[in-house]
């Protein structure tokens, strides 16, 4: 089976230790996580993990089953890139004088649809949100001028299909 990129979405309780438990599932199977993001979700007191892996669908399915088995996980899903809307964010810290010395930088800012977050005497910071290849492209363009610091976030994604967490939780409270 061929390897491809999958986005795993995990809805869970917000508990200390769950991140360790979930990352252990990847560790046990020697699978590298490409990116991982944890945030609140659309439901109050429910956290959402967004994990990107590059592996076979068979492995992804098994991992998702193991994740879902964890007591504090409400539900886990996996999707292909086609099935999700996803973005990453990046910050570039660049020396301020370049903004005036290198005209090309201004073009890059305009063409990449990035924003200047702050400007100081010594440096300015560019923020870019988009697909990985767009951020990579911008990085490649800026690199020759010198990047003082660079950071990119993990992928965040929403799915085209529904993820019926509310129904699962409602069913639980109805059964009680």
């Amino acid at each position: 089976m061929k390897k491809q990129r999958f986005t795993i979405s995990v809805y869970s309780e917000n508990n200390v230790g769950l991140l360790n438990r979930i990352s252990g599932i990847f560790l046990k199977r020697h699978i590298n996580v490409e990116s991982l993001n944890v945030s609140k979700s659309e439901i109050e007191n429910v956290s959402k993990f967004t994990i990107v892996v590059n592996t076979t669908e068979d492995w992804t399915r098994k991992i998702v089953a193991q994740i879902e088995k964890q007591i504090e996980v409400i539900k886990a899903f996996y999707h292909t890139d086609d099935e999700t809307i996803f973005q990453e964010s990046a910050l570039f810290k660049i020396a301020s004088h370049l903004l005036f010395d290198e005209r090309q930088i201004q073009n890059i800012i305009k063409e990449s649809n990035s924003q200047i977050v702050t400007v100081s005497r010594d440096f300015f910071v560019l923020a870019k949100t988009g697909r990985r290849h767009e951020i990579d492209e911008m990085h490649d363009q800026l690199e020759p001028f010198g990047i003082m610091q660079f950071v990119r976030s993990g992928r965040i994604a929403v799915t085209k299909s529904e993820m019926p967490i509310t129904t699962i939780l409602e069913d639980f409270y109805q059964d009680k």
């Binding site: 309780e13 360790n20 438990r21 089953a65 879902e68 007591i71 996980v73 009680k176």
Partner: protein, 582 residues
């Protein structure tokens, strides 16, 4: 007998009532939680960070018996033995640091063999967490991969809810181990105690809803199969589905084999019980896996020791998997129909849809294969003509002396395979072994727990000379509490199973498998346990009978042939069809 579990059971009945409005310490609250969960017996080892709880145990010793094992690992295995024989949750307790890390092997064993235990560990006070304090260790981090759930309590007020959740999670659904780590400040703090049993956790669905569609489809496959074959595992025992399984196979006339974790769910002499699958299982059950047209797996997980090579496992057959844990479906063997749910519920739903059948020709295939195995292996094991004693004949003598009524607790290695192959059982929950993890040292402490959980039954521990020395210190518990277990060490002065592999696959290079052993009889006698050694066949029967008749703990060493091999055998990575008889 100094220890009497039965008496303490009666004392705790009224303890499950809710207590409200009384301020007590966290340590006392832990005791009330245990009593409310029906716990009357725990195993453990005290130490600095758990001392407040031990102080309460002292005050509550009329209601809650604490057994001091000689090592924390022994406490976990004893709790496992107790859980496996009773179906209740076993409890072990330890201090922080090394006390906690010594629980890890037992937790891992309980995790892979789905055994409900709750382990309670003390932890350094909250303000010292992360400071590398004396006996501080991150037991939550360490135990995460080997627990079904774990949690650290840092405030006394969290104790009731977390403890209730711990017991609920350990025993519900697919059972497993839970570890609760409690900082010392939380044990000292006072709070208003009230207890409510946990009835559900919103993010956890212990038992999936059975699908009527899947059950109907499975019934159709079973009804149309010409050569259906059941392989059951421990799920049948954990799900209390023994009767349902028996009804199903009797109605449909399906031969049924077991994994070692499922052994004893159906009596050994039941005509449809065709024996053991797996690496050292019976010949027919392995070979015919690759000849059946329908494989019905019930409460088992297709472990590699059961399947051999997956590429050649039951490829010709349709597969139905009755399973409580959705993560097991299609994990190792792709299935045609997954019937999710607990085994009792789903089997009871499918039985009315099953047509009566007898499959006589198909069943004869198993008989034929058994005859072959009997001639080439079993006869020589059970009725040897060579001078050296075999492990098989010892097990057979125990069968004869126990009338198939005993609980058998085995360790890991050759003796385990031989015991599982030849032990005969009448009752479920009678074969206690370390299946998935293969933990040497399991049997002696597990036998203590099993005996305390089933005081009315004989408990015989069968152990090799290697594994015995891994937890031999638990003889101290047997002596101190006069736990009347029967301990049989099958001594071949080798780590027999590894030696067998070295002989077969490493050209007899016996790297570190030869053991110079101490005088085991003297050691047992040092603990004031009656002890005998058998070196010749003529003494075996009478000594085994004497052991089984004893009302006290009894140690029996049998000097068996040093270089015997266990057959049949599926070489590692080979197909079930390639099982070797010699």
């Amino acid at each position: 007998m100094r220890y009497s579990c039965m008496e303490t059971v009666k004392l705790k009945k009224d303890q499950s009532k809710k207590k409200t409005g009384i301020k007590i310490t966290g340590a006392e609250a832990i005791i009330h939680c245990l009593l409310a969960e029906g716990v009357d017996l725990i195993y453990g080892y005290p130490g600095g960070a758990i001392m407040p709880v031990y102080d309460e145990l002292y005050k509550f010793q009329d209601k809650l018996t604490h057994i001091l094992t000689r090592h924390e690992q022994g406490a976990t295995h004893a709790a496992q033995g107790y859980a496996r024989v009773t179906g209740k949750v076993g409890v072990a307790m330890a201090t922080s640091g090394p006390g906690a890390t010594n629980l890890v092997t037992g937790l891992a064993d309980a995790q892979i063999d789905s055994t409900p235990i709750v382990c309670i560990t003390g932890q350094v006070p909250r303000h010292l967490l992360g400071s590398d304090a004396f006996q501080e260790t991150d037991i939550i981090g360490i135990s995460t991969p080997v627990t079904k759930w774990n949690h650290q309590i840092t405030k006394a007020a969290e104790i009731p809810e977390v403890m209730a959740k711990a017991f609920y999670i350990a025993k519900s659904g697919r059972p497993g181990p839970v570890l609760i780590d409690i900082t010392k400040n939380a044990q000292f703090e006072e709070f208003e105690f009230s207890y409510e049993k946990c009835t559900g956790v919103r993010s956890y669905k212990p038992v999936p809803e059975p699908s009527v569609k899947a059950i109907e489809a499975a019934a159709e496959l079973i009804n149309s199969a010409k050569k259906p074959y059941v392989v059951w595992g421990q799920g049948v025992i954990l799900g209390k589905a023994e009767e349902a399984l028996k009804t199903l196979i009797e109605k449909a006339g399906i031969p049924a084999a077991w994994t070692i974790m499922g052994e004893s769910a159906i009596p050994t002499d039941h005509p449809l019980n065709v024996g053991m699958v797996g690496m050292h299982g019976n010949y027919g059950p392995n070979v015919l896996t690759n000849e059946c047209d329908l494989l019905i797996a019930i409460g088992m997980r297709f472990d590699d020791r059961v399947t051999g090579s997956l590429d050649t496992y039951a490829k010709q057959a349709k597969v139905i998997h009755f399973e409580i844990d959705p993560a097991e479906i299609n994990k190792n063997v792709p299935v045609d129909i997954a019937v999710l749910g607990d085994a009792k519920t789903t089997l009871e739903l499918i039985i009315p849809l099953i047509n009566k059948n007898s499959h006589e020709d198909w069943r004869k295939e198993f008989d034929k294969k058994y005859e072959e195995e009997f001639a080439q292996v079993i006869e020589k094991d059970l009725h040897p003509t060579k001078p050296g004693l075999t492990m098989g004949e010892v097990i057979e003598e125990i069968n004869l002396a126990s009338g198939h009524e005993a609980v058998m607790v085995t360790d890991v290695g050759q003796h385990q395979m031989v015991a599982c192959r030849y032990a005969k059982f009448k009752h479920s929950k009678s074969n206690i072994t370390s299946g998935g993890l293969g933990t040497m040292g399991f049997a002696l402490p597990a036998a203590i727990g099993a005996k305390m959980g089933a005081m009315d039954r004989e408990v015989v521990a069968i152990i090799g000379d290697g594994g015995y020395q891994m937890t031999i210190q638990e003889l101290g518990v047997i002596f101190q509490h006069n736990v009347p277990v029967k301990i049989v060490v099958l001594n071949n002065d080798h780590l027999g199973m590894v030696r067998q592999w070295q002989e077969l696959f490493f050209e007899s290079r016996y790297a570190s498998t030869v053991m110079t052993n101490p005088d085991f009889v003297k050691i047992a006698e040092g603990y004031h346990i009656e002890a005998k050694r058998v070196t010749e066949r003529k003494d075996l029967k009478a000594t085994v009978q004497e052991m089984m008749a004893s009302k006290n703990p009894y140690f029996l060493e049998v000097r068996v042939e040093k270089e015997d091999n266990v057959f049949p055998m599926i070489p590692s990575g080979a197909s079930v069809s390639d099982i070797r008889l010699k």
